[in-house]
């Protein structure tokens, strides 16, 4: 039997007894009405109510009739409160009794209305509490992972910490994770349903070691842990409310009602007055929700847990050149662990080389999705050799970044600029919905990672022309530098509209583009070389649409008070009037604070039998 039906049945069975208990509940209900408890922040949080977009009504985010005791409970917090009071006072026992089913509501109502409920044995609730054994709560934030579009913005979940927990026993703590219960294997359906709420979102419980394996080892995402300063009473309320939510279905939306949003709701229940949900009416980017939690003074301290790739990079950096080459050969199986080249090293250095070789092998196995058989034997040989060396590892763990992922600039941007394009002066307004562009202030962001969503510029030229200069619906770039041990591809994808210099005009063209290539570390920055292709379409083209192909190269650097990028791109068009056009550009931004930057740009564009230069500056404000 499905959940809604089951709970509906449960509610129906209750109704006669509820009616019988009304005389007792009546005075409490009247008192609740006088105090207007139904519209108290805590009650609205417990019921996951939000104000409707239109009018003054309410609606709950819960999409499961089993969560409501009143028939119209989803839309009426007062009716739900009255029904809850009546149900709590109804006779009966066992896990189905509302007192056992809704312990967080019961606790809050008792505190506010000062009434007693009989002791009831709630087996399921008792097991929930004793299993989770929560004493403190930590917010866990696996950071963005560029190669997976559905995790671009990071993810958050809660860890329930036990009393006297140490760093090592933290692995055994349980986590509360709100996620879409996806049943489609098809990526396309996955994205569509994710955006439009086609998946039920449910609260999952797993040991922390499972989550670490998933994020740190399989997906290579660095993890930030934020220990929250919730009191034991607040933790108890959170645990009980998560028990109320555990069987409840919420429609899951990637952008709005997502993992992070539901966690905010849990925290709103734990501590009345936070009003975290209210800060994210339509979109909850995990990093933003972490910012809000930090701003609400909920964080006691933080800890950094580097991903497998970060550890590997840090360890490889601690090897000498010869040791690194040896580790690489050991990984490929070109050298055996018995080889004198290894065994003549000091034991400690042998340990360092073997460990790095092993980590590199595991990274390759997971990243390249190799068959188990291809690496299991050689991985075990490396571990066996390592186990024969008594020395402890000299390798140091990577240092936590000085700026956390929640401490970077805010994701939306507003810019005011001015400049000259082809000797004509212009003023410019720019607006971006999210998230980070390569030349934005880098602290707190992954180097070489860009996600721009809904990013547009409007220009006003001195000859009284107002023009849309550019509009990116989405523009993602991933410049992942290659090293001896980690060899990812760099890529980009963009969809939007831009202006292209033609023979006697500069028409606005819709454009879909992609690039793929390699990046390398260069002078503290990242240099890249890629092959690119673009499909342009619009009335400004004689043929209606054109395909361009060509190389891209550039260098992203840090310094001179900020960061900048020098870039070159060339496109040769194949359909209609065939020609090659390109652009050489330099953009540098000086960071004037976390959320303010001044940028300068210089470019030379070669169009069809014609070229144009541009120079400009702009002030960017992040909000």
């Amino acid at each position: 039997m499905s959940a809604p039906a089951r709970w509906l049945l449960c509610v129906c069975l209750l109704l006669p007894t509820v009616a019988g208990a009304l005389p007792e509940a009546r005075p409490l209900q009247e008192r609740a009405e006088r105090l207007d408890l139904a519209h108290d922040e805590a009650w609205l949080a417990l019921g996951h109510y939000r104000r409707n977009w239109l009018g003054a009504g309410y609606a709950s985010d819960a999409d499961d009739p089993g969560f409501f005791l009143a028939a119209q409970g989803k839309a009426d917090p007062a009716a739900e409160l009255n029904a809850t009071l009546a149900a709590l006072l109804s006779p009966g026992s066992g896990d189905r009794h509302p007192q056992c089913r809704f312990p967080a509501r019961a606790r809050w109502l008792q505190q506010r209305l000062h009434f007693d409920l009989p002791e009831r044995r709630c087996k399921a609730l008792a097991e929930w509490r004793s299993t989770l054994k929560a004493h403190e709560v930590s917010l866990i934030f696996p950071t963005a992972y560029l190669n997976s579009p559905s995790s671009m913005f990071g993810h958050t979940f809660l860890r329930l910490d036990r009393e006297g927990q140490t760093d090592s026993s933290a692995l055994l703590a349980y986590t509360l994770n709100y996620a879409a219960e996806a049943v489609d294997e098809n990526e396309l359906f996955y994205a569509y349903r994710g955006l439009f709420g086609g998946y039920p979102g449910v609260l999952g419980v797993r040991p922390y070691y499972d989550k670490i394996k998933e994020y740190r080892d399989f997906e290579n995402r660095d993890i930030w842990e934020y220990r929250l300063n919730l009191s034991p009473a607040e933790v108890a309320q959170l645990v009980d409310h998560s028990f109320e939510l555990q069987p409840v279905r919420f429609d899951y939306y990637f952008i709005g009602e997502n993992c992070s949003y539901r966690l905010l709701a849990l925290l709103d229940v734990a501590r009345t007055g936070l009003r975290l949900r209210a800060e994210f009416p339509w979109r909850a980017i995990p990093a933003d929700t972490v910012r809000a939690i930090v701003a609400a003074k909920l964080v006691a301290d933080t800890r950094y847990r580097p991903s497998a790739a970060t550890v590997l990079t840090a360890h490889a950096d601690q090897l000498g050149n010869a040791e690194r080459r040896l580790a690489k050969r050991l990984k490929h199986g070109d050298t055996s662990p018995d080889d004198t080249e290894l065994t003549r090293l000091a034991p400690m250095r042998q340990a360092a080389v073997l460990e790095t070789a092993y980590e590199s092998e595991r990274f390759r196995a997971l990243d390249d999705k190799l068959e188990r058989d291809a690496t299991a034997k050689s991985s075990l040989a490396l571990l066996r050799a390592r186990s024969r060396i008594a020395a402890a590892s000299p390798l140091k763990a990577p240092q936590a970044p000085a700026v956390r992922d929640d401490q970077g600039h805010k994701p939306a941007a507003f810019g005011l600029g001015a400049g000259f394009y082809d000797h004509r002066a212009y003023g410019e307004i720019r607006l971006r919905s999210a998230y980070h562009e390569l030349t934005d202030p880098w602290p707190g962001y992954r180097p070489g990672a860009q996600i721009a969503l809904l990013d547009g510029s409007l220009r006003y030229y001195e000859d009284n022309r107002l023009q849309l200069e550019r509009l990116d619906a989405v523009n993602i770039r991933s410049l992942s530098p290659r090293s001896e041990f980690i060899q990812p591809l760099s890529w980009s994808i963009g969809l939007g509209a831009y202006r292209r210099l033609m023979r006697d005009s500069r028409p606005l063209l819709g454009s879909l583009s992609g690039e793929v290539g390699w990046s390398y570390p260069l002078a503290g920055g990242i240099a890249y070389a890629m092959a690119g292709a673009r499909l342009d379409a619009g009335g400004g083209l004689e043929s209606g649409a054109q395909i361009g192909l060509g190389p891209r190269a550039g260098w992203l650097y840090r310094g001179l008070g900020g960061q900048g990028m020098a870039a070159f791109e060339l496109d040769c068009y194949l359909i209609g009037s065939a020609y090659c056009g390109g652009k050489l550009s330099l953009r540098h931004a000086i960071n004037l604070g976390r959320d303010l930057a001044l940028s300068f740009s210089l470019s030379r564009e070669q169009g069809q039998d014609r070229s144009a230069s541009e120079v400009g500056f702009s002030l960017m404000r992040y909000f």
């Binding site: 039920p200 070691y209 499972d210 399989f218 028990f243 196995a365 997971l366 571990l383 402890a392």
Partner: protein
């Protein structure tokens, strides 16, 4: 469809701990103790995408989660909880645990001590015992988590100082 049915089942009963879903023991290879899942060393590397998908979506409230504490994995009921917890833990952490044992230290190895109730004072000896017998614990790459646990139990029993931690 099976996943959907499983999800509904999960939704329908808030705490299915006491009514273990049928797949928990029948579909997975039972080990020597009739308990745990018998994961392979370096398991999870073929078809990682599919593996993760199954792990995050299907198992959001999997039986292993609570089985660890309440002992519903079909284990021999005469075994203490610590022992069963150790089996589930080793099964879930095969790869990382092997790495820590080879090094003789690490978070995942500490976690095993925690599950098996090894006192802080005995952990250096516990770690050293495991490290010095790496070859016995992991004789080949086809070793399963249940075999690792059986060997570990034998090693503990034979060690006068640590035999009290044997299940």
């Amino acid at each position: 469809m099976q996943k959907l049915a499983f999800a509904s089942l999960m939704l329908a009963a808030p705490l299915l701990v006491n009514a273990a879903p049928p797949q928990s023991t029948s579909n997975r290879g039972d080990g020597a103790g009739g308990c745990g899942w018998g994961s392979l060393l370096f398991d999870g590397n073929s078809g990682v995408g599919a593996h993760i998908f199954a792990m995050t979506t299907n198992g959001s409230f999997g039986n292993a989660t609570f089985g660890m504490s309440s002992g519903t994995l079909g284990c021999d009921p005469s075994q203490p909880i610590r022992y069963k917890g150790g089996r589930v833990y080793i099964s879930a952490n095969m790869t990382k645990l092997a790495e820590d044992i080879a090094r003789g230290e690490g978070e995942t190895l500490d976690g095993l001590s925690e599950v098996m109730g090894v006192a802080a004072a005995d952990r250096p000896a516990f770690n050293a015992l495991a490290k010095s017998h790496f070859d016995r614990l992991y004789p080949n790459e086809a070793v399963t988590s249940d075999q690792v646990m059986d060997t570990l139990q034998a090693l503990l029993k034979a060690d006068p100082a640590l035999s009290k931690y044997a299940g």
